[in-house]
């Protein structure tokens, strides 16, 4: 608890000084395990030296929620994911657990997604729904719905602490370029690009919000604002609507390409799933 007080007072000092307080230099560890929340920026991110997890830009009070799985409100949903993983559904009479005996076997998967399979870019959500439709004979889950985020959080958690290592070359190169174009493309009545806020201005306040680099190493992320898990695509959609742009389709080609590009911008950071944000 001493820690909490320290963090909070640091945040207050920064605020009252009224300058761009940038990222803080706190350390994130969860139950003794250190999570890498800063890393040398990948070479392709030529305008950044260091990449920072969004955790560094939150208040001390929000930060501590992620330091203890009993405090972390996302775990209510992770527990739902555990139940869903064991739930028999569909014409084949199977649950995920019928074929994937131990969810811990998914360790190492999150850091490599999205990835290209047979010329198509696939996300964690795609892989889960492929098993539901093709292997269970069940309805696909809604891409950003509560069942999907519960299970993708559970699977992501198995890789917590592992370094993101998304491939951007070979088959992935064209998707990466597409995602990069989208990242720098100005859209909406406010005519802004992701980069305007998350690359050019991270570390400063935009009214009540402290701008981060918009990293996705913590997704699905629990947001205090809506008290649920949010998919990365759901966040992209929200940011586009804030600049009064018509969002791309959740689960569609544009957002998948953007996800690949953003995930790779975080190469070297640890998987933080499930993170807590405001």
């Amino acid at each position: 608890m001493e820690f909490k007080t320290l963090l909070t007072s640091a945040a207050i000092v920064a605020l009252s000084a009224g300058f761009a307080s940038a990222q803080d230099d706190a350390t994130l560890s969860v139950d003794g395990e250190v999570i890498k929340t800063r890393a040398d920026a990948p070479a392709f991110a030529e305008n950044l030296d260091t990449v920072y997890s969004g955790w560094h830009f939150r208040t001390g009070e929000t930060q501590v929620l992620q330091m203890d799985d009993f405090e972390n409100p996302a775990f209510v949903f992770v527990d739902q994911g555990v139940d869903l993983f064991d739930k028999v559904e569909g014409s084949e009479g199977k649950a995920c657990a019928s074929c994937h005996e131990d969810v811990a076997d998914f360790a190492g998967l999150r850091p490599t997604l999205p990835r290209v399979e047979n010329g198509e870019l696939v996300t964690m959500e795609d892989l889960v729904n492929e098993c539901r439709t093709d292997r269970m004979g069940a309805e696909p889950w809604k891409y950003s719905g509560g069942q999907m985020t519960a299970v993708t959080a559970l699977i992501g958690l198995q890789s917590r602490g592992m370094s993101i290592n998304v491939a951007v070359d070979g088959d992935a190169a064209s998707f990466f370029e597409r995602g990069k174009d989208l990242y720098y493309q100005r859209v909406g009545q406010l005519d802004m690009a992701c980069s305007n806020c998350h690359e050019d201005n991270y570390g400063v306040m935009i009214r009540a919000d402290h701008l981060s680099q918009g990293q996705i190493n913590g997704f699905p992320a629990y947001r205090l604002k809506n008290a649920k898990l949010n998919s990365a695509h759901g966040r992209f959609k929200g940011c586009m609507e804030n600049i009064r742009a018509t969002p791309f389709k959740v689960g569609g080609d544009e957002f998948k390409a953007l996800e690949l590009y953003l995930a790779a911008r975080g190469n070297g950071l640890s998987v933080e799933t499930p993170s807590v944000r405001n």
Binding site: Q189, L190, R207
Partner: protein, 149 residues
């Protein structure tokens, strides 16, 4: 008699306004400045102050601090502080900056508040619309001119 006069006066007024108001696509820039008033009606600084802070209108506080508004809790830091901005810029320059800041500051993140085209993929309900009306721009400019050190 009296009634007829009033009605006539009202319609003359509204006709004048319609004619005098410059459409977004007709605004003439000179080195980033806009010399002519967009409406021919003087701006109302106190209305401009409200537009400045309103999150659905100017939301200028999203990006600028402003010492004239201590009652507002959150001031953004993306752009320069606007305290004293009325000493630093002329009316025509401020009008140019608010209408379309990109004409003054190449590639700026600051949105253009009086354009109704040239942006991509707007949400449907904002398509073909400007962020502020001509009069709101004049009001904000009048307000900015009151911000003296």
């Amino acid at each position: 008699m009296r009634n007829i006069f009033t009605i006539a006066a009202v319609s003359v007024l509204s006709v004048t306004t319609a004619v005098a108001e410059t459409a977004p696509s007709d605004v003439a820039f000179q080195d980033g400045s806009v010399m002519a008033s967009l409406t021919g009606t003087a701006g109302d600084a106190s209305a401009g102050r409200k537009t400045f802070m309103n999150r659905k209108l100017g939301n200028c506080l999203a990006c600028h601090t402003n010492d004239d508004m201590p009652e507002q809790q959150f001031h953004g830091e993306v752009g320069p502080p606007l305290t004293g901005v009325g000493d630093r810029w002329e009316a025509a320059e401020l009008r140019g900056i608010v209408v379309n800041a990109k004409m003054m500051f190449d590639g700026t993140i600051m949105p253009a508040f009086y354009i109704d085209s040239g942006y991509e993929r707007p949400l449907k309900k904002f398509d073909g619309k400007s962020l502020l009306t001509a009069q709101q721009v004049e009001d904000v400019v009048a307000y900015l001119l009151t911000l003296k050190d």
